[in-house]
């Protein structure tokens, strides 16, 4: 028998009374907490909606979410960037949070939902449509209108930060796509860097290496990975062939167009003809295939160079880069997928947040930061250090000025994985190119209707 059952009725009653008081107190505390949270949210909303943040003359603390930075880049931020900014702006204190790319989007959206989002944060190339249409980003149009940095950015890249004419984000670093090739492999095969799509394929046929029927070095790698690498490579090819994912007004998908079909048939022919292999998949943080000598040519961004430096430095001297080939060999197109900086719509300190954002996108700070993470600064006025004085880096800068970008639409975040899945099916022979594109087109059409 438990001690409880031996207690007197009086003691029972006293305990029940105590329990009731405790329960009422707990309920009261809960209600108070809810009320307080609700007040905070209201206060935050009213502050941001009025646009009147705390005066810069009174001390404020803003937070910055830094995504995917290397330890050296974080040390640069903590040791130099933030102290320098705080010295120049004594009333603004900055705290930095960090996360990896894999979980960044989830963290940003859940933090925004719980009103705990960082004031300033880095965002992936195709997140803007979703975040802006869900009102998680502060409109920056009025700030950008008076911002000197805007003139240093390629118009196409700056436009990737807009949705329906409103500026919501500022490009932080570029991610341009083009054709990488290994000069030693090309020399050994007696082929020149391809300018046309026909030459790209004939070169790939001469460059592929097989052993026992299996490809050990791809003639051409199309950047298949666990994310949307294949979709980005296909988009580069599609734009190079004069096509587009959407109709002229960006209101409907155009994956069933003749040029889209031709582009995918061309791409899949590399796999069916044994010039490329779908077995070469970049998983997680693994390097690009060409950066470790498993491909002679590859469509990819500047990270190929930095990955080669990290994983196989002897390949670096053999790496070269050209704009992606076109059908005629002229008018190459470079697609840009810039990573951006934005400000949380619910920030209590929009002006201070903008001050910090404009400071870290200033040419000197941005150039140093991008050199530490191995990316191309979006600001063309950024002083070029040793990282950017190589011929390849200069090529990238030249291309950036002429680059094109995908349109910013709310469903862009969903489009990438959806199309990538269908392209994987086409590449692996699970679906014909026309069936894969029809499925992609139908999926995107229903997404656009839903949005």
């Amino acid at each position: 028998m438990t001690p409880e059952l031996t207690q007197t009725p009086k003691r029972h009653a006293r305990r029940r009374h105590t329990q009731k008081i405790a329960a009422i107190a707990a309920a009261g505390a809960l209600l108070a907490a809810c009320g307080s949270a609700s007040k905070t949210a209201q206060s935050s909303n009213s502050s941001s909606s009025s646009g009147a943040s705390s005066s810069p003359s009174s001390p404020v603390t803003i937070s910055f979410l830094n995504v995917g930075a290397s330890p050296q880049a974080l040390a640069y931020f903590n040791g130099t960037v933030i102290p320098d900014f705080e010295r120049a702006n004594p009333n603004i204190h900055v705290t930095m949070e960090t996360t990896d790319w894999g979980s960044a989007f989830t963290k940003i959206t859940t933090a925004a939902a719980s009103k705990t989002e960082a004031d300033v944060f880095i965002q992936g190339g195709i997140w803007l449509g979703s975040l802006a249409s869900d009102e998680a980003l502060l409109p920056l149009t009025k700030y950008v209108a008076n911002w000197s940095g805007a003139k240093n950015m390629p118009a196409s890249e700056l436009a990737t930060g807009k949705l329906n004419g409103t500026q919501y984000a500022i490009p932080y670093y570029s991610d341009l796509r083009g054709l990488w090739y290994n000069t030693a492999d090309l020399a050994a095969a007696h082929v020149s860097p391809p300018k046309t799509l026909a030459q790209l394929k004939s070169d790939a046929a001469k460059l592929v290496v097989k052993s026992g029927g299996s490809i050990t070095r791809e003639g051409m790698d199309w950047a298949i990975d666990n994310s949307i690498g294949l979709q980005q490579a296909y988009t580069e090819l599609l734009y190079s062939m004069g096509g587009h994912e959407f109709n002229a007004t960006d209101t409907a998908p155009a994956f069933t167009s003749t040029v889209a079909q031709q582009a995918l048939s061309y791409l899949t022919s590399f796999y069916s003809d044994g010039l490329s292999s779908s077995k070469f998949v970049d998983v997680g943080s693994s390097p690009a295939t060409i950066a470790i000598g498993q491909a002679a040519m590859e469509v990819n961004g500047f990270q190929v160079y930095t990955e080669a430096e990290q994983y196989d430095p002897k390949i670096v001297k053999d790496l070269a880069f050209e704009p992606f080939p076109t059908p005629s060999g002229s008018n190459p197109v470079a697609l840009s997928f810039p990573t951006k900086l934005g400000i949380y719509a619910g920030t209590k300190h929009p002006n201070s947040s903008w001050k910090f954002l404009s400071y870290i996108t200033s040419p000197t700070v941005e150039a140093k930061w991008d050199s530490l993470i191995g990316e191309l600064p979006a600001d063309t006025n950024a002083p070029l250090g040793p990282t950017w004085s190589t011929p390849i880096a200069k090529q990238f800068f030249a291309l950036a000025a002429e680059s094109k970008a995908q349109p910013t639409i709310p469903v862009m975040l969903k489009l990438g994985p959806l199309v990538n899945t269908q392209l994987e099916k086409a590449v692996s022979g699970q679906a014909s190119p026309s069936a894969a594109l029809a499925a992609a087109n139908s999926g995107i059409a229903s997404l656009m209707q839903g949005s």
Partner: protein, 317 residues
């Protein structure tokens, strides 16, 4: 055949006279009001935790499944719209089929392997303890870490498995990139990770089979296979229920392997339902749709659990 182990061991007459054993038709808890209240107080903390951690999230999920909810904007009620979208979505049905395939193969092959290994390790062989430790060892590795190790092992060019196959003159296999092979590759990883744990469960169950039963079977002229079928299997039914239930439910919720190793690809070949829920909810921000999907999976797991338990109870009783 009813195992002697699984009965109470007392004759029916004795049970009928025992006041602790409820007579047929008698209330299961013949406690007075005071004792019932005391009992409730004892279970109250657990009950509160259960409500907060299990019941409340399920009800919340049920509510959101009737809404359009993007996480960043307030949810608004849309009735059964998300369920209609779900049931007409070919990707959802594809993920369901892939999950059934994964769970079915994993549980059947897994039970056969873990029980087989457990039976082998009950024999007098050299290094039994060593073998048990080695087979159990993968259980100590987190799924994510184990999956990353296997990504390297499965690498088509530099991975040890393909290197070995090539050295023997075999072809290079796209373990994670070929649509037909990717899911079996995930099954290999899951078997590697889980077999040791379930082997231990079976070992414990086998150790509880009375030696008298083996002796009786031997005296009756039963061979090893018949002894296993007629004596061992009925005696380990509770353990079998546990393994079947937990492994099936775990396999139906497969996520980490697919997320880390293939992200559902190639071409959705390894897309499990839970990975699809994650992608819908946290990548596409379709929380209402993801909630509907989660609730359907929850209902299925609930029904499956009830069927398993009822099926085994009839056999155990």
């Amino acid at each position: 055949m009813t195992s002697p182990l699984l009965s109470s061991g007392r004759p029916p007459a004795a049970r009928a006279q025992d006041p602790a054993v409820p007579a047929p038709g008698r209330r299961r808890l013949g406690l007075d009001a005071g004792k019932r209240r005391a009992g409730l107080k004892f279970v109250a903390p657990a009950l509160v935790l259960l409500i907060i951690l299990d019941v409340a999230p399920i009800l919340t999920e049920l509510f959101y499944s009737f809404t359009k909810f993007s996480l960043l904007k307030p949810a608004h009620l849309v009735g059964f719209a998300e369920y209609e979208a779900l049931f007409s979505d070919p990707v959802f049905w594809h993920s369901v089929l892939r999950t059934f395939y994964f769970a079915g193969v994993l549980v059947v092959v897994g039970i056969a392997v873990s029980l087989g290994v457990a039976v082998l390790l009950t024999q007098t062989i050299i290094g039994t303890t060593f073998h048990r430790i080695v087979i159990f060892l993968p259980q100590t590795v987190s799924y994510a870490a184990g999956a990353l190790i296997w990504v390297w092992l499965f690498n088509p060019t530099s991975g040890p498995i393909n290197t070995l196959i090539s050295s023997l003159g075999g072809p290079s296999i796209g373990w994670l990139s070929s649509p037909g092979i990717a899911m079996p590759s995930l099954l290999i990883v899951s078997l590697w990770r889980d077999t040791g744990y379930y082997m231990l469960v079976f070992l414990a169950a086998l150790a509880n089979v009375p030696t008298e039963l083996y002796e009786a079977a031997h005296l009756d002229g039963a061979g090893p296979i018949r002894t296993f079928r007629e004596v061992v299997l009925p005696s380990i039914r509770p353990a079998m229920l546990f393994v079947l239930l937990t492994w099936t439910l775990g396999a139906l919720q497969m996520f980490t392997q697919a997320y880390v190793m293939t992200n559902g690809g190639p071409g959705n070949a390894t897309l499990s339902v839970v990975l699809d829920i994650y992608k819908e909810g946290f990548q596409d921000l379709s929380l209402g749709y993801a909630s509907a999907e989660s609730f359907v999976v929850f209902l299925f797991c609930l029904v499956l659990s009830l069927v398993y338990v009822r099926w085994f109870r009839t056999r155990i009783d």
